[in-house]
């Protein structure tokens, strides 16, 4: 019945790991060919792979794991998907209903454990409600603000035969509001007509809303000529080559983007959530602007920053209405004001905040990414990342022209996300080039998935910027803990080339900038999984940077005096 429900939901792939409590489902899987099962090497990997699959396709990712340890291993992935609003549906096996509560073998209170890390979850005790619950789970995961859901199915319910129901999303009582309030939208359009220093601040909500939202966003930005910045989660919604593109904003965002946010007179937040990596010091955040916020989740609005024009609705729906109303009122903008604003921004751009000291002897991580960008730009390319400095450099130095091409763990910042996510992406896009930009420490956290990549012949490229340090941690220790580098080394690292070899994958080592292009080409030309060990400068810091507890216009741009920049309240905000 579970498999029938998945088929009716259009599921073609599940990521999973079997065990006693899901054997009946696995038995059903065995006897059919429509749904492909990808056997991961750890349940956390299954959930991240499903996230990668979901984020790169817009479809929900599906996971099946067993009870007890299978379920608890999935918790990090669920929390990750919750914070980044990724639609995934996780099925867990459970001990039979008559044993629940008896500390039975591999029993865990899965719905209890996962209640705070799912959008919703269900324990199905009645076989007649199984199929209906599964359909509802897909509906909830993908409707409104997307998120992870979990269905816990006791083994006796898996064995039982109950009445099957077809999907009927219209019957669900879960119906979030998608149309924005017209009055508020008109108020925003009026503000857009007069603003002298407007800026679009866009986020993951544009990606969540679907490709139509990105198209409408492009139309609106290009028609108004307003500058646009995006969060880490929204990269690609507006093309990096677009002329109004400011680059990413926030803690490691671009100088021009943060200055524009600080000085603007109209901020139009589209599907972003005023995360603390964005706002910095809340009371100094863009002090003189009128703020509008479009978000499908009413709880995102006024959570952190007070906004003047709240609009609850889906990005695509609201953008469509904005465009219609703006056009019907005569496509007005304060052209003169906006031109002066663009000139000011051009000055900020001249600061060239991403510049770094080049080196002929060692590979600078920024240089490695510049070369990767140059050599892969024109390909059908998807990028995933791990978490740390390399993630920020990837966001700064790689350019994204389309949505759903960039998969990263933003909200939870889960080291170990990128490798399994790249597997999920490659499964969904077998012909595409999928690269995981990694740090060596993060990559080791889920390196067992090399087995999965090898088994399914997935040509994922693991581009490891190996600084032999927990670089991001080391950077913070340098800046605010008096250069006391407490346990932030990667000791006893494996020989990555041999490691790859041991799994039947290809390993490449590169340590000289002169060899880099050839080595990258070798990686790209190999039809199979590659582990690329790129030995980079060990003590490079990631700039620009807004130190914790500081305002947007107090950015650090380079190695200049970084001592004592963060006071003790800021240190607590890390």
């Amino acid at each position: 019945m579970v498999i029938q429900a998945l088929k009716d939901q259009g599921v073609d792939t599940v990521f999973g790991y079997p065990g006693g409590a899901v054997l009946p489902i696995y038995d059903e899987l065995f006897q059919q060919n429509e749904i492909r099962h990808i056997l991961v090497r750890h349940e956390q990997g299954a959930v991240h792979a499903a996230e990668g699959y979901a984020r790169s396709t817009g479809k929900p990712g599906v996971v099946i794991v067993t009870s007890g340890p299978g379920a608890t291993n999935a918790v990090t992935g669920l929390t990750d998907a919750l914070l980044d609003s990724i639609p995934i549906v996780v099925f867990t096996g459970q001990v039979p209903t008559f044993l629940i509560g008896s500390d039975a073998f591999q029993e865990a209170d899965t719905v209890g454990i996962t209640r705070p890390c799912t959008k919703h979850n269900w324990l199905v005790k009645d076989p007649d409600r199984l199929s209906g619950t599964i359909h509802e789970a897909f509906h909830v995961a993908t409707t409104g603000r997307p998120g992870p859901v979990l269905v816990d199915i006791p083994k006796d319910v898996q064995f039982a035969s109950g009445a099957y129901q077809k999907p009927a999303p219209e019957k669900s009582y879960y119906k979030p509001q998608v149309k924005g309030d017209r009055e508020a939208i008109t108020e925003l359009v009026a503000a857009m007509e007069t603003a002298k220093k407007p800026v679009f601040y866009t986020g993951g909500g544009v990606i969540n809303s679907g490709p139509a939202a990105s198209m409408l966003l492009r139309e609106l930005v290009d028609a108004t000529g307003f500058p646009i910045t995006s969060t880490l989660m929204g990269l690609g919604a507006y093309p990096a080559s677009g002329k109004n593109w400011l680059g990413m904003l926030g803690m490691h965002g671009l100088y021009e983007a943060n200055m524009a946010m600080h000085d603007c007179d109209l901020m139009i937040n589209i599907g972003a959530r005023f995360d603390d990596r964005i706002t910095g010091r809340v009371d100094a955040f863009s002090p003189r602007s009128l703020k509008a916020h479009i978000d499908i989740d009413p709880s995102s609005i006024n959570k952190v920053i007070h906004v003047d024009i709240p609009i609850v609705g889906d990005v695509a729906h609201v953008l469509e209405d904005i465009l219609t109303i703006w056009k019907s009122r005569g496509r007005k903008t304060n052209a003169e004001g906006v031109a002066r604003w663009q000139a000011k921004i051009a000055e900020w751009r001249k600061v060239d905040c991403l510049r770094y000291k080049p080196s002929t002897g060692t590979i600078k991580p920024q240089y490695a990414l510049e070369r990767l960008e140059a050599l892969t730009r024109d390909r059908d390319r998807y990028i995933t990342t791990e978490v740390g400095q390399h993630q920020m450099w990837a966001a700064q130095f790689l350019n994204f022209e389309d949505p759903n091409r960039w998969m990263t763990s933003g909200g939870l910042g889960t080291m170990g996300y990128g490798f399994p996510a790249s597997i999920g992406v490659q499964i969904a896009h077998p012909e595409a080039l999928v690269i995981n930009v990694a740090g060596e420490a993060s990559w080791l956290m889920n390196m067992q998935e090399l087995g999965t990549a090898a088994q399914f012949r997935l040509p994922v490229k693991q581009f490891i910027l190996n600084n032999e340090r927990l670089g991001m941690v080391r950077q913070w220790q340098e800046l605010l803990h008096g250069e006391r580098y407490s346990h932030s080394w990667s000791e006893s690292l494996p020989d990555f080339v041999k490691l790859a070899d041991a799994f039947g994958a290809k390993g490449i080592l590169c340590s000289d900038p002169k060899d880099l292009d050839d080595a990258i080409m070798e990686m790209l030309n190999h039809d199979g999984p590659v582990v690329f060990d790129c030995l980079v400068e060990k003590h490079e810091n990631c700039f620009p940077m807004i130190p914790s507890g500081k305002a947007h216009n107090e950015m650090l741009l380079g190695e200049a005096d970084t001592q004592g920049v963060i006071d003790s309240t800021g240190a607590a905000l890390v």
């Binding site: 719905v111 209890g112 209640r115 705070p116 959008k119 919703h120 324990l123 909830v140 603000r145 009582y173 879960y174 989740d297 009413p298 709880s299 609005i301 006024n302 959570k303 007070h306 709240p310 609850v312």
Partner: protein
Amino acid sequence: MSPLHIKKGATSHSAYNLRSTFSDVEERHTLAVLVENEPGVLARVIGLFSGRGYNIESLTVAEVDHTGHRSRITIVTTGTPQVIEQIKAQLGRIVTVHEVHDLTVEGRTVERELAMMKVNGQGDKRVEALRIAEIFRANVVDSTLSSFVFEITGAPDKIDAFADLMRPLGLAEMARTGVAALLRGD
């Protein structure tokens, strides 16, 4: 009118009134939350309050519509206007929550709570306890030669006042139900 005597559609006008004023003053609000009566729904609501650090002054829950599977949770909470707005929005996000009503802003409410108090004492104190109970319209639901159990219904502050008076007279034990509340009028 829904069978639950809550104005239909009131949610969008009040509970999600997004233009909150950002003030530091703590307010006390009574929320009525209509939920799907299914296992775990109370845990979701309580988990939300503990997980996000909100206050619960009182919480009551019971099924109010058996055929429609609806329960009504009445929560008395305190917080700044911004926090109260967040609480309502967060409650509204829970998939099994159907409606969130902020009775404090939707109109005048009647709030009632039931309490039982055991008062031990003899002689004058015992007579005095009974006399005060009469003034407060508390009923005697159990009595021995040296104790009474009073049952009292009323707004929470009336119950507080009664408890304060009973304390010197031998209040030994108390059980309170927490607040139930409805909007006045139709």
